[in-house]
Amino acid sequence: MYAEQQAAYLNSYETGLDKGTLKTILEDYWEIFDKDDAIEVLSDLQNRNQDEYLDIVYNAFEDRENYVAILKSNLPDEEDVFKHYVEIYRKLSNVVPELVEQNVFQDFSAIKNIRDTAWNYGRGAFLSRCCYEAGYISEVELIEYLQRSHTGLRNYCRTWKEYTTSYIFGRAIWGGSNNDGMIQIADDLLNSEKSPLKNKIYL
């Protein structure tokens, strides 16, 4: 999804992007200037999928009558941490009805298991290719990273349809409305004759 958005190659380690675009993505968007930065950002995009507190936020969102008690009794007391998860709860309240209306998914139960994992793993996969091209990680490291991403992602998303849904959901949680472009990209990837995902159901 990220690669398609950037008009990069979809089925190779190389992205096909020019050096200026790569620099913008790595340095301006992600603040990756060297190998250490690359490892830190790429690891974070994989590790954040194991956040156990997200389940509590999702449970609270499903049980709106009791959301206060669920959040207060299960989230950490530290003010900043608590506020961080309350903010995610608020974003769910804004984003979920909108995405249901746009037919991205039918209801919240479709999202509860796949979460925003594709948004994290997917961006990580594309960024790792950028890091490889910039010389921050080797080809072996890239392949290992992509394999770990694939394995990790399959714990949540089993189909490409689930993947695109999870990616759009994650992007909406991050950036709010205006996801029409990403919804169109998902549709193209799943249905276009030229798409490498055409006729592929499972990850």
């Binding site: 959301y67 709860y89 974003k91 309240s93 804004n94 709010g176």
Partner: protein, 232 residues
């Protein structure tokens, strides 16, 4: 003398007679209402007024509980502030995240308390839903409340004698990640006389009373739910 010159005088006299007549009817109808007794019927009136006069609120709430409701308004200062933020192109993440645009200050607005959430609804010029903003429990716990006096936008429109019908307000102020946002809570639902009831003083007054009883309890229920909203 041409009798046509008598017409204005006749109209003035008729108008005065009509005013005296209506005033008497008003006093008579008012004396028949025991406000304290009527206040005991809060629960009945809350349901009745919602179903008969404000069904749109139920529709906007989409099945969520309605624990209390009343009219609301946007202070001019708040509207200016929000519009200033928007027109200056300042990316105020906090306000945009809760969807506050508040373009209009003269149209009907409502508050609904539902569980731990306070819902704010504003309408457009034809009464359709314009904005729906939800202030959740955690925003409520950080909010403050103060008495705001008689609704200022309506002062001067009415004579002193009808001041008793003007809404008194409380001003609730939310801290949206550092940006203060103030909105007004009315102590009654906004009453607009039905033209067909113009001569039915009893019905007009009784409707006003119901709107007042439903609205005036709102702040008390809000304060019971959120003790931080007690007014010193």
């Amino acid at each position: 003398m041409n009798p046509i010159f008598l017409i204005p005088a006749v109209l003035v006299i008729a108008g005065m007679c009509f005013m005296i007549y209506m005033n008497k009817k008003h006093q008579s109808a008012k004396s028949q209402i025991d406000l304290d007794f009527e206040r005991n019927k809060y629960d009945v009136y809350k349901q009745e007024v919602l179903a008969q006069n404000f069904p749109q609120i139920k529709q906007w709430m989409k099945g969520k509980s309605i624990d209390a409701y009343t009219s609301a308004s946007v202070p001019q200062s708040t509207a200016n502030k929000v519009q200033g933020v928007i027109s200056d192109g300042i990316n105020n993440v906090a306000l945009s995240a809760i969807g506050v645009k508040l373009r209009r200050i003269e149209t009907e607005c409502f508050w609904v308390l539902s569980g731990s959430d306070l819902h704010f609804f504003s309408t457009n010029t034809v009464g359709e839903l314009d904005e729906h903003v939800v202030f959740d429990n955690f925003r409520m716990e950080e909010a403050t409340l103060r008495y705001g006096g008689i609704l200022k936008s309506q002062l001067g429109v009415y004579s002193k004698s009808s001041e008793e019908y003007l809404p008194k307000t409380h001003i609730i102020t939310f801290n949206i990640d550092g940006t203060l946002l103030s909105l007004e809570i009315h102590d009654r639902l906004n009453y607009v006389p039905d033209p067909t009831d113009i001569l039915n003083m009893n019905k007009q007054l009784m409707t006003r009373v119901k709107y007042q009883i439903v609205g005036e309890k709102f702040v008390k229920i809000l304060q019971d739910k959120f003790p931080n909203l007690q007014v010193a």
